[in-house]
């Protein structure tokens, strides 16, 4: 049932190591995510404790100001990008395929690759300390990110890390989206899904539409720093361009890190109160509402930038309105307690505690939504207190509830309940001693390394620091408890909490292949398993080692080295781009570290080849995948969602162009810099190539090999023609000296926007070459034309983008 590629690397590593390095199994990947995110949690937590120590008394100088600012920045970045979401996605990886009755995720190797991109991006952000870590806050406000203000290349490394993790997040959102839409067990309707998968579903939709904006922002920042463009260092773009693009991403991001925890809480509470979640459909509806509204509230981060009275009032209303759906969620959780039988186990305590802290965080959020109060509270410890009540109080506490809840499922063993309860009590008290005083420090600026004694801020800061050490120390109990129990704890059995979701029907820990028989959900909501038992794995359910029907496979199957290698290649590539030598500050010129870039590129090509040639299939009855396009509906949905993210990405680039253009006093007249004739020719060529792509698909459908080859060759040729005209135009503009990257915003926006589009054309041409090679070998003409169709979708999208770029740059 399992076809394996003959990995050259199989003999290099012992099985125990190979299992973790090359796994594509959603459960192993999930555990890798969890362990890695907890590692970063400790790292970022230690940074926080250092800062609390520095702030404990006035006029303290344990940390220098530079080091303090670096800690502030890296603490924020780590917690937001490398702890909160990956922690949640560790659970999502392990649990969601089980909860919806899928065999693994839709694209297991892509999933493994997401993890390795995540890990290496984390390595990069920590490495940034070697090059002068970013020290301007996780919000990276411009123009302070400009080379003249931040010459340390640690910021480049940080930007590279952010690009890598955005790639990781985009891959995994596409993967989860396809899995949840396409791979649910028969009868498992969307509305039958537990709240946790729903929360993740809403989260990935937000990720898909928020992160492209961030990626575009970081990319523009990166070219500003490396090639001396002016998006964020000029007055025309500058601070407000960054603010808009960053916070368009930034506010949804807050809910991206919050919703998975709400999902966990909504699964934990019914299990331990023994009652179904009150109004679960309203809870889900509220999540969707909050997610939608989260995209129109970003202005409240800009209340005092001078965006105008009307805008600020509008954002006040939307931001205050977003609290309504959260009201519904909280009330639903509380109403669940009525006539319940509440078992106050550690998971339940953390879930209830998280709700309580979330209430405080939510109420104080309404203060900050008010533009009038924000004029006093902006940039103070009140803000710090508020978002830590959300991100630590609700998110981390909620996820710790998940950790206790699913620990028996992950390990097959129980943790020590008493120690866990002590952990909760100490954490909860420590948390409030740590963060509540910060509400009272509403005059103290955040992100300052020290303060004078006569400010009177000393005592509350000392209290907060005390709380910080209590809270931090309490986590030692968590780690000790879980580490020891994982080896020595008593066996948990499959369903220690008497939970109802599908993962509890499986042995603990779950065997490599998950279900012997995929469940079916009947009309009345009961699960049916093919073996007639109430457990999918029959009598073997108590002991994961004995599997009944021969479907089982070991953890050492379904492995691929390429996700790891490819992520490492990308890591080298971006590191090389980041750690070069600045050769001149004004105009900025920067010499990247070519050896690393070359290594990364070569390794990337090798791994791409290995990845696509590998015969990779894990579950024969479910899906077979081979890059790029074989498994049909999954891939198509994946491409559509990916294109959705691309729309936002180009939308931001075009938006940035509009922004700098409308803010510029002068702009070259139509036809002055670009020849309209050239633009028109390129448009014609590209549109024709869409036509030939359609012809290629039509030929494939009727089985005409020659027609297909002709169609693809024509598309390839037209793509090349487009690039040729583009290149001559670039060179011409360059040699006339009118127009170089460094010569101003008209140049900057033109080169970057059309350059990014050009890269997309090149990628499309690479796909064409791949498809041509396969066509020559006789594929795609026997009804298996889907790959051509998928390529067509992408190619048409790239053409449509040009249809927008042409008038924007050439005609107006």
């Amino acid at each position: 049932m399992t076809v394996q590629s003959d990995h050259m690397s199989q003999d290099i590593f012992p099985p125990r190591v190979r299992r973790w390095l090359f796994t594509t199994n959603h459960k192993e990947v999930g555990i890798l995510y969890l362990v890695t995110s907890l590692f970063f949690f400790v790292a970022a937590g230690l940074l926080a404790l250092s800062m609390r120590t520095q702030l404990s008394v006035p006029d303290n100088h344990v940390l220098t100001e530079t080091l303090y600012n670096q800690f502030v920045t890296v603490h924020g970045l780590l917690m937001i990008f490398w702890v909160l979401s990956p922690f949640a996605f560790g659970f999502a990886n392990y649990v969601i395929p089980l909860q919806i009755g899928a065999r693994d995720l839709a694209f297991p190797r892509l999933n493994a690759m997401s993890y390795w991109f995540y890990l290496f991006s984390g390595v990069a952000i920590i490495m940034s300390f070697m090059f002068g870590a970013p020290d301007l806050g996780w919000t990276l406000y411009s123009p302070q990110t400009a080379f003249q203000f931040a010459p340390a290349i640690g910021l480049n490394v940080g930007a590279a890390a952010l690009i890598l993790i955005t790639v990781s997040i985009t891959m995994s959102s596409v993967n989860f989206l396809v899995t949840m839409f396409k791979m649910r067990a028969p009868g498992m309707k969307l509305r039958n899904m537990p709240v946790f998968p729903w929360a993740i579903l809403v989260t990935i939709f937000m990720m898909l539409y928020a992160f492209p904006s961030f990626l575009a922002a970081v990319l523009l920042l990166y070219v500003d720093r490396a090639f001396g463009t002016f998006y964020f260092s000029s007055i025309q773009g500058g601070a407000l361009l960054w603010d808009n693009v960053f916070w368009f991403f930034g506010h949804p991001e807050v809910y991206i890190v919050l919703f998975p925890a709400i999902g966990v809480i909504a699964d934990v509470i019914p299990t331990f109160t023994r009652r179904p979640l009150y109004g679960s459909k309203y809870v889900i509806g509220s999540m969707i509402a909050a997610a939608v509204i989260s995209f129109i509230v970003w202005g409240h981060h800009m209340f005092v930038t001078g965006i105008g009275l009307t805008s600020t009032k509008l954002y006040t209303v939307t931001t205050i309105a977003v609290s309504l759906p959260f009201d519904v969620m909280v009330i639903a959780m509380i109403e669940t307690l009525i006539k319940a039988r509440i078992k106050l186990k550690a998971a339940a305590l953390f879930a209830l505690g998280a709700i309580a802290l979330f209430v405080i965080g939510g109420i104080t959020g309404v203060y900050l939504a008010s533009v009038a109060l924000d004029h006093a509270l902006r940039g103070t410890y009140f803000v710090v207190a508020h978002f830590h009540y959300i991100m630590v109080g609700a998110s981390i506490m909620g996820l710790i509830a998940g950790l206790y809840y699913w620990f028996p499922k992950l390990t097959g063993r129980m943790y020590n309940e008493t120690v866990a309860k002590i952990h909760f009590v100490v954490s909860f008290i420590g948390f409030n001693i740590l963060y509540f005083p910060m509400f009272l420090l509403l005059d103290m600026p955040r992100r300052i390394q020290t303060y004078a004694p006569d400010t009177g801020w000393g005592p509350l800061n000392s209290l907060a620091t005390l709380g910080g050490f209590i809270f931090g120390g309490a986590q030692v109990l968590l780690f000790l408890n879980l580490l020891l129990s994982q080896r020595r704890g008593p066996a948990s059995g499959p369903n220690p909490w008497d939970g109802w979701t599908l993962e509890w029907s499986l042995p603990s820990p779950v065997p490599a292949h998950d279900f012997d028989t995929i469940p079916t959900i009947a009309e009345d909501g009961t699960y049916r398993f093919g073996n007639g038992s109430s457990y999918p794995n029959g009598s073997a359910h108590i002991d994961g080692s004995k599997i009944g029907n021969g479907l089982a496979y070991s953890h050492l199957e379904g492995m691929s080295p390429w996700p790891l290698v490819m992520a490492f290649a990308a890591f080298l590539f971006f590191l090389g781009l980041s750690i070069g030598q600045p050769t001149s500050p004004n105009p900025v010129s920067f010499k990247p570290f070519w050896p690393l870039i070359a290594d990364g590129a070569i390794l990337g090509v090798i791994s791409l080849y290995g990845y696509s040639r590998e015969r990779f299939s894990v579950h024969e009855e479910n899906h077979v995948e081979s890059w790029p396009f074989r498994e049909v509906p999954n891939v198509k949905l994946g491409i559509w969602t990916f294109l959705g993210a691309e729309v936002i990405f180009f939308g931001v680039l075009i938006g940035a162009y509009f922004f700098v253009r409308t803010n510029s006093a002068t702009w070259p007249a139509v036809g002055e810099l670009f020849s309209i004739r050239n633009g028109f020719a390129m448009t014609l060529v590209l549109l024709t190539s869409s036509l030939t792509a359609i012809m290629a698909l039509a030929s494939a459908k009727i089985g005409s090999r020659n027609g297909l080859i002709a169609g693809l060759l024509a598309t390839l040729g037209l793509g090349a023609g487009f690039l040729y005209i583009k290149a001559t135009e670039w060179i011409e503009l360059g040699t006339h000296g009118v127009f170089s990257v460094a010569s101003g915003l008209p140049a900057t926006s033109y080169f970057i926007t059309t350059g990014t589009h050009g890269v997309h054309v090149v990628a499309g041409m690479c796909m064409t070459v791949y498809l041509l090679a396969n066509t020559v070998r006789g594929r795609y003409i026997k009804g298996d034309y889907h790959a051509i169709e998928h390529f067509g979708l992408y190619w048409h999208f790239v053409d449509i983008v040009w249809v927008f770029l042409f008038p924007l740059f050439y005609l107006i």
Binding site: N69, V72, D135, L136, G137, Y141, Q144, F149, N192, I235, Q236, G238, A239, L240, P270, T271, T273, G279, K281, Y282, V304, T305, G306, L309, V317, S323, L324, D327, V328, V330, I331, I334, L337, K339, A340, R341, I355, V359, I363, Y367, S370, V371, A372, L373, H375, A376, R378, G379, D443, R446, R447, I448, T450, Y451, N495, W500, D524, T526, Y527, S534
Partner: protein, 230 residues
Amino acid sequence: MAVSNTQVIFDNLYGIFTYLAIIVGVIVFTLMAYLIIKYRERKSSSDPEDTPRLGRIPTSRGHGRNVLITVTLSTFLLAVLIITSFAAVDTLFPGSPPNSTWCYGIASYNQTQVAGQSCPRLDVTGHQFYWVFRYPNNHTYTNFFRVPANTTVVLDVTSADVFHDFGIIQFKIKTDAIHGRTNTIWFIPYKTGNYTIQCFELCGTGHVGMIATLDVMPVADFQLWYDSAK
């Protein structure tokens, strides 16, 4: 005693928010605590009839009516907050600031209180890592400026380099200082004395020391100082 009109506005609004927050918080936490204590597991208690069990999707429960009541109640509360916030921000940041009156009585200006004319605004510029204050007579002061008590002062705030934020701590007022943009704030200081101005946006190594002093003086003293300043 209040130190400025902006502080009064803030304190009133903050008070309204906090009263409501405490009421809501007390209700929610009391309810939670009551329910947890009342329905905690006891030896005698047994699972409710609709306990979710492995093997079937739990029956859906919950009334849209309750959700509607919750949302309606919250909407009323939030409407109060929005309306009071708007009233405050209309005073704090009207489309155009009120007449500036700090220069009335100063010999070099012919503006008079009677005519209700506006004084020139003061310019504030953030630099890494200090504040520069410029008066209409082109005298500039670093990390220090003076205004007369009980007059209207209007400031135009900008930055010469990176993103700063100009905040007068005790006055509960601030605005971003952004290169290429000017943001205007105004206030009426009520009480003489020194007040702290600090940068509220991390602007580099040195940010922590980006502190200035505002000296609010009796009107007569201020006029004397201003006219004699060289």
